[in-house]
Amino acid sequence: MGNVNEVLEGRYSRQILLPRIGVEGQERLGQTSVLVLGCGALGSVMAEILVLAGLGLVRIVDRDVVEPSNLQRQALFDEEDARLCMPKAEAAQRRLRLYNSHVRIEGIVADMNPGNVARFLDGISLVLDGTDNVETRYVLNDACLRSGIPWVYGGSVGTAGIAMTVMPGLGPCLRCIFPDPPAPGSLPTCDTVGVLGTAPHLVASLQATEAIKLALGDHSGAGRLISFDVWTATFTAIDVKRQESCVACGRGRYEFLDRDALSWVTSLCGRNAVQISPPRDSSLDLSALAETLAEVGQVAFNGLVLTATLEGHDVVIFPDGRLLVRGTTDKTLARQLAARYLGY
């Protein structure tokens, strides 16, 4: 085994040289399991950094497929992934396994919701937020507080970015700062105002740094809210205090976990798409479904996800039973399609 260690010490020698890490710190990294929730601009950068840095397990959960508009800033994916509508979690897993074979990498194609979040947190020491919408972050905040798992919030739109570590029991949580989620449609999103690749890259770098610090037992980032604009080169760091009146961490009420997970309809924040999740954890036989749907519409199955044109609407169907209707924000229409073709 000495040989293996020598190889690894060579591989990680530059970060082992850092007094804050050292051989012992590197070993701790190798024993740390992280969940990267969402594999867009933030998630793909964080996953890459942590896989290269030699974490023990990097679990990546993402619900989407690679689209051409991702390629401007998400360097983990390529044109072939977009052409094949590859699920991001799967594409990321394949790529990252080539980057570092010493790290366990789990790509899971799924949409995190109150009903399944506990499953993704199982065995995880810390969570990195790479989600692309408001609601999911509040679910994550509640789930992590309840399980006592630290998580690192990150967000980016336009040329702006923000990041903060939430350390349950030690520092403030997301709801200490933003007590209630902004209403859907009230915030600018990457799809309405655009995003420069460097802004999410910087957020993701800060988040990944926090992950490495947390893995090494350094909690100094808890409650330090960093916000910046890469274009004007303005950076602010505020030390936020925990609010005793906070509904979540102060009073221990996890409202976002109590919500009915049954009819989980999400209009994807500015994405001009609506997603319908199945009533409960399920798995679809997509190749059989492809045959059925071929009778009524144009269907393509790449072995991982099924894309089809049904009644003139572009849909993507995932093995976990989710239906994504593109080119609409009409939830009723999406529900109708789900009911007609998937039976829920």
């Binding site: 867009g40 739109v157 700062i177 915030l187 600018p188 809210l225 602010t236």
Partner: protein, 70 residues
């Protein structure tokens, strides 16, 4: 004579009339208070306190927006 006082908003100096509340400052800047956090001299101002919190000369105000993209 119109009096003003100086405060710092996100590290930039700004002049406002005396007795300006945080809520009035936000509405003057056309910022919807629901989607931001305001920190005054290092402490987050509770949403319900924005209209009751009167700014003093030299106050340091940080306004942080929720960013949902990722």
């Amino acid at each position: 004579m119109v009096q003003t006082m100086k405060i710092l908003i996100n590290s930039k100096e700004k002049s406002v009339p005396p007795n300006t509340t945080v809520a009035a400052l936000l509405s003057q800047m056309e910022i919807n208070a629901r989607y931001i956090a305001v920190e005054l001299n290092g402490i987050i101002v509770d949403g319900q306190e924005l209209a009751r919190t009167v700014l003093q000369p030299g106050d340091k105000v940080e306004i942080v927006r929720f960013l949902g993209g990722g």
